[in-house]
């Protein structure tokens, strides 16, 4: 690989950056008030503000929403990729394993207690995701951690339990917060505002860099922990770092837009088929391509219903769940 590898990395990154930029441009230009490609292009190319309604819509509603979608897509894709490497199971994904559900419980508690989005609700979401992760690892501990079925079954159970707790919390909520919780739960990106997106970006970008830095170690992890260790990897530190960073990323996305499932399954699978299993390529590909995928899913969520909108989480689940079933069936052979 050597220089060949760097060339490939550049090529993949450049191509996916263009794809992401294109998707974001489309996302900014199209919306419920109609399409205005001209306005959005002019806005992107000049700083002059032309106080108009279309401009306000683009700047204050569509732009933060598209950026939120890109960040969420990147974080969830990367989360799936890391879980799959760490657990050596291509079907692992934060949503399927119940990590997202756990952080949703934390976040809902935060909302009910009346905390502000940052830091209150976010910290609660992070705590929730870590707690489910520990529960999951404890349930499938010992040698069984790496067995496909045992891990997935544990995940399904954790997820079912989380759903029950979420229902319980919802049923106990009576006032206006109920509507907030329900919409947010379904994976809704329409509440994006510039401030929140800024905080999320500041939280996620260092995670992306750290994970790229650890990408070759993820390659070594796929050879089994014994072999990775004898190739110089400090398994304990690396495992804990990856788990904590990933839970943090997942809880940050859950905190800002609720439950968006299966992105972490679809994107890493797609890129593994196209680009091969090298994580040094897959990490940047998941960040850029996952971002583009989420922006496009959100765009579909905006334009598909003839009236109003649907949450983007509905689209990702409708694409992802059938794919999961297909992969599960294929891996069983």
């Amino acid at each position: 690989m050597g220089t060949g590898f760097l060339k490939r990395l550049m090529l993949v990154s450049a191509f996916l950056s263009v794809l992401l930029a294109g998707a974001m441009y489309l996302g900014i230009s199209v919306g419920s008030t109609g399409s205005n490609f001209g306005d959005s292009m002019r806005l992107l190319l000049t700083d002059k503000s032309v106080d108009s309604v279309p401009e306000a819509i683009i700047r204050q509603i569509r732009l933060p929403r598209v950026m939120l979608a890109a960040l969420v897509g990147a974080a969830l894709s990367l989360g799936g990729l890391v879980f799959q490497a760490l657990l050596r199971n291509t079907l692992a994904e934060p949503y399927i394993l119940g990590i997202s559900g756990g952080s949703a419980i934390g976040a809902i508690f935060g909302i009910i207690l009346g905390f502000s989005y940052f830091p209150g609700v976010s910290i609660m979401a992070f705590t929730g995701s870590l707690a489910t992760l520990l529960l999951l690892l404890a349930m499938s501990s010992g040698q069984a951690v790496f067995k496909k079925d045992s891990l997935l079954l544990s995940g399904v159970m954790v997820n079912a339990f989380c759903s029950a707790v979420i229902m319980l919390l919802i049923s106990m909520t009576r006032d206006a917060r109920l509507h907030n919780i329900i919409f947010w739960l379904m994976g809704d990106l329409s509440t994006a505002d510039t401030g929140r997106v800024g905080i999320l970006a500041a939280a996620l970008l260092p995670c992306f860099i750290l994970l790229f830095w650890l990408s070759n170690i993820m390659n070594l992890l796929l050879m089994g922990s014994d072999m990775a260790q004898t190739m110089g990897v400090n398994i304990k530190i690396v495992t804990i770092t990856l788990l904590v960073v990933t839970s943090f990323m997942v809880s940050a996305t859950v905190g800002s837009c609720g439950l968006v499932g299966f992105v972490g399954l679809v994107i890493p699978h797609l890129f593994r088929i196209i680009l091969g299993p090298d994580h040094r390529i897959l990490v940047p590909a998941c960040v850029l391509g996952g971002g583009a995928y989420m922006v496009l899913c959100d765009l579909l969520a905006k334009i598909l219903p003839s009236q109003g909108e649907m949450p983007a989480g509905v689209i990702t689940a409708m694409i992802g769940a059938p794919l999961f079933i297909y992969l599960l069936k294929r891996s069983g052979r």
Partner: protein, 267 residues
């Protein structure tokens, strides 16, 4: 004599079960050292301790003159390579990608390879006769080919010592000798110290320079194949009747387990 590994008064237990008891021995430089013994005698645990995968609670292991616990993982990985019995191949890496991973201890954190590293990988694949499979996915290989890939990876790691956990288990006869020939060439041509755990006493007799026989976590016997593989020690260790004679192939013992029906035992 020049020991590369020295083990002193080593004990190891899983919970309350003591699996290695008061083990002390040395492995000399460029030896072909084979650890044999019945199931559950602690062979694999011993190998994992030598690889630094698990650390000994009690006792001491020195690698190339230094206490193993004092090594930085990456530095240790430049001294000792390890080939586990089975390696997951769920992820579709190609043969050359896996072999190249052996360079990891010599590279920076992102593992960016230079020309020299590519050359080492190429040489390792030639040595193990894998060059024609370089771009094949490891998930499409046979068991014997897979084992050769992971040995090539260990060679690519450029260490003085290579540890192998039953590399011939589950391979057919042709692949068994092919793997063992390969290891013998590594030891003879490059002076690499080979430490291997094996179930197969006859392969151990044919290839090993030094054998270590374990039973219930203790050393029963250590020395040249002719000294260790006597019927008294083997019968004591394995608890079954064995015929030990000289192999028609050369000056090393041949071990044949005797079926119960020939012993007049009725079932």
């Amino acid at each position: 004599m020049n020991p590369v590994i020295t083990i002193t008064k080593l004990n190891y237990s899983y919970g309350k079960i003591l699996v290695l008891k008061d083990i002390s021995f040395q492995i000399q430089s460029s030896d072909f050292f084979i650890i044999i013994g019945p199931n559950g005698s602690g062979k694999t645990t011993l190998l994992r301790l030598l690889a630094g995968i698990i650390s000994a609670g009690d006792g001491r292991i020195d690698v190339l003159g230094d206490y193993i616990e004092d090594y930085n993982r990456k530095v240790l990985a430049r001294k000792i390579a390890y080939v586990p019995q089975t390696v997951p191949v769920d992820f579709p890496f190609t043969v050359s990608e896996v072999v190249l991973m052996g360079r990891a201890p010599h590279l920076g954190i992102l593992g960016l390879e230079k020309e020299k590293d590519l050359l080492r990988a190429k040489q390792a694949m030639e040595f193990t006769e894998l060059d024609h499979l370089a771009d094949r996915k490891t998930s499409q290989l046979s068991g014997g080919e897979c084992q050769r890939v992971f040995i090539a990876r260990a060679i690519c790691q450029e260490t003085e010592i290579i540890l192998l956990d039953e590399p011939t288990a589950s391979l057919d006869l042709a692949h068994q000798t092919r793997i063992m020939d390969l290891m013998e060439r590594l030891q003879k041509e490059r002076g690499i110290t080979i430490v291997m755990v094996s179930h197969d006493v006859n392969l151990a007799a044919m290839y090993g320079k030094t054998l270590l026989l374990l039973k219930e976590g203790q050393i029963v016997s250590q020395g040249k194949p002719g000294e260790v593989l006597t019927f008294q020690t083997l019968e004591a260790a394995y608890g079954c009747t064995l015929l030990v004679d000289e192999s028609p192939l050369g000056r090393f013992p041949r071990v044949t387990p005797v079926p119960g029906r020939l012993m007049g035992v009725k079932d």
